[in-house]
């Protein structure tokens, strides 16, 4: 696994855990497991809160910085008649 893959896999997983926890609390459903071990705790108690403190523009910048298909040409077609 490359470093960008590792970052994406982990950030996706822990961001989802955090979001599931918020959803579960606000809507009264089953919550995900509490963080267990050092890795879980660092991601969920430090890195994810830091990410959520960032403004949306900065979050987008961080997400866009990963390598992938979005760095190639993906022109949006205008489907409206002229």
């Amino acid at each position: 696994m490359t470093f960008p893959q590792w970052i994406r896999t982990n950030s996706e997983h822990y961001l989802l855990c955090d979001a599931q926890d918020r959803m579960a609390r606000s809507k009264g459903f089953n919550a995900p497991n509490k963080p267990r071990g050092l890795k879980d705790n660092i991601w969920r108690r430090v890195l994810i809160p830091v990410y959520h403190m960032m403004p949306w523009g900065l979050k987008k910048l961080v997400m866009q910085s990963i390598p992938g298909s979005h760095k190639k040409s993906w022109p949006r077609k205008n489907f409206r008649s002229k």
Binding site: L15, P32, K77
Partner: protein
């Protein structure tokens, strides 16, 4: 011109047909490791659940039809490697085969659990139709099933096991079914149906080992041992791109092959489509991997046209989706509340529970529609729906709305079909949109 497809799924066959249609003189060759092409693997759980009476119904075309149309399909053939410099592939039993354009459509694999016993007999990874036919006979004698993790295929398989009267235990480390896509309130009716049907659901628990002497007898879990005649894997999709990786083709952060809107990879003579590739999301501009068969087929067609010398581009995706889970339909578009919260997106929710036909018409069903709106531009960023009918059409419609960039105000003032048997006076999408507009305008 010789155009070679690796993979006989929707991407590979979409590519083959489109390449042939673009360059009628081209030699079109498809390599697949399986016994068949042109069938619907998505239908397999419904044959297991007895909603469809035969696997034969899942075949879309015969082998003879491909022969007649001039597409040369090599069945049960393994490709070992790709040499980008020489523009060749190494094929078991055939040797080195040249190509002018190569289209990689190698699809996906189940993410393995990385636990002892994964090589035992009795572990079912729903995918190939021939093996599904064998598993279906095996299921006739199965009394206890364990489903490990609850992705979309697992959701369909749990419902299939319920239909067959098989005692099923569902074990998932996540808090609810399809929790990486669906909001808990949307999936709740499905969970409730399973609970009523006696499915033993263990959320937040893990399978730690699969045990048995050659064949599975039980699984070890974080809450104790569970007897199992069969273990059904429902883990997430992982791109099957070892060949591309080994050849030096660029791979992205999702693990999928990096492509542009023409489905061209980092090598100009190689294209990729379907679950082995990563596609750009229309709202966030982030790469995604692991979409639906219809996405794979459409991407395959784009890759095939371009490989054949034509010009076609694939648009960033807004991912309308839907599925049947037991008696309940769920579906949506792009983000739900959980995923929007995960990325930290600012959104407003408009929601309602409406009806699918006139209130007095037989068969009328409730449908819940939840729309997510970006307050900065009033555009739709996601939707989730649950009901017993009418989810697919609404998801498709919202997909176009999102792609066209219409504002929520357009939906809040939309016209709708009213005809007692097929549509109610009030369209639930319009009511949910009006709710969102009230919130956006500070009137609630």
């Amino acid at each position: 011109m010789k155009i070679v497809m690796l993979g006989g799924g929707p991407g590979g066959l979409g590519a083959a047909g489109a390449a042939q249609g673009t360059d009628k003189s081209a030699e079109i060759v498809v390599y697949t490791q399986f016994e068949d092409v042109a069938y619907s693997p998505c239908g397999i759980p419904f044959v297991h659940g007895k909603e469809i009476d035969s696997f034969d119904r899942l075949f879309l075309a015969t082998k003879e039809q491909y022969v007649k149309s001039g597409i040369d399909v090599h069945y049960e053939t393994t490709v070992d490697s790709i040499n980008l410099k020489k523009k060749t592939i190494q094929v078991q039993g055939e040797g080195e085969i040249g190509y002018d354009k190569l289209i990689i459509c190698t699809g996906w694999l189940y993410k393995e659990l990385g636990i002892p016993g994964e090589d035992l007999d009795g572990i079912y990874r729903v995918k190939n139709i021939r093996s599904a036919m064998e598993w279906d006979k095996f299921l006739d004698n199965v009394k206890t099933a364990v489903v490990v993790e609850c992705g979309p295929i697992a959701v369909e398989m749990v419902s299939a096991m319920v239909h067959r009267g098989i005692k099923t235990t569902l074990i998932d480390p996540n808090p609810w079914p399809m929790s990486d896509v669906v909001d808990p309130d949307i999936i709740e009716p499905v969970r409730k149906d399973w609970e009523d049907a006696g499915v033993d659901m263990r959320w937040g628990e893990k399978v730690t080992a699969i045990r048995g002497d050659k064949t599975v007898t039980h699984v070890e879990t974080t809450f104790g041992d569970v007897q199992a005649d069969i273990v059904i894997l429902g883990t997430p999709k992982s791109p099957n791109n070892d060949l591309a990786k080994a050849a030096g083709i660029k791979i992205g952060s999702t693990g999928g092959i990096v492509i542009d809107s023409r489905c061209q990879t980092s090598d100009p003579d190689v294209y990729a489509a379907g679950d082995c590739a990563e596609i750009v999301h229309g709202i966030t501009n982030l790469p995604l991997q692991g979409l639906t068969g219809s996405h794979a087929y459409a991407q395959g067609k784009v890759a095939g046209v371009n490989a054949g010398g034509g010009e076609r581009i694939y648009q960033p995706v807004h991912v309308p989706w839907g599925m049947l889970a037991g008696k309940t339909m769920i579906g949506g578009l792009s983000f739900g509340e959980t995923t929007a919260t995960a990325v930290g997106m600012n959104y407003i929710v408009g929601s309602t529970t409406g009806i699918t036909r006139a209130r007095y018409y037989p068969g009328v069903q409730p449908i819940t529609v939840k729309l997510l709106v970006d307050p900065s531009n009033r555009r739709l960023v996601g939707a989730q729906m649950v009901g017993a009918e009418g989810v697919k059409e609404r998801a498709d419609f919202l997909g176009v709305v999102s792609r066209a960039g219409l504002t929520i105000d357009a939906l809040a003032t939309m016209e709708n079909v009213y005809s007692p048997a097929i549509g109610a006076l009030n369209e639930p999408i319009q009511i949910a949109a009006a709710d969102a507009v009230m919130k956006l305008d500070g009137k609630v």
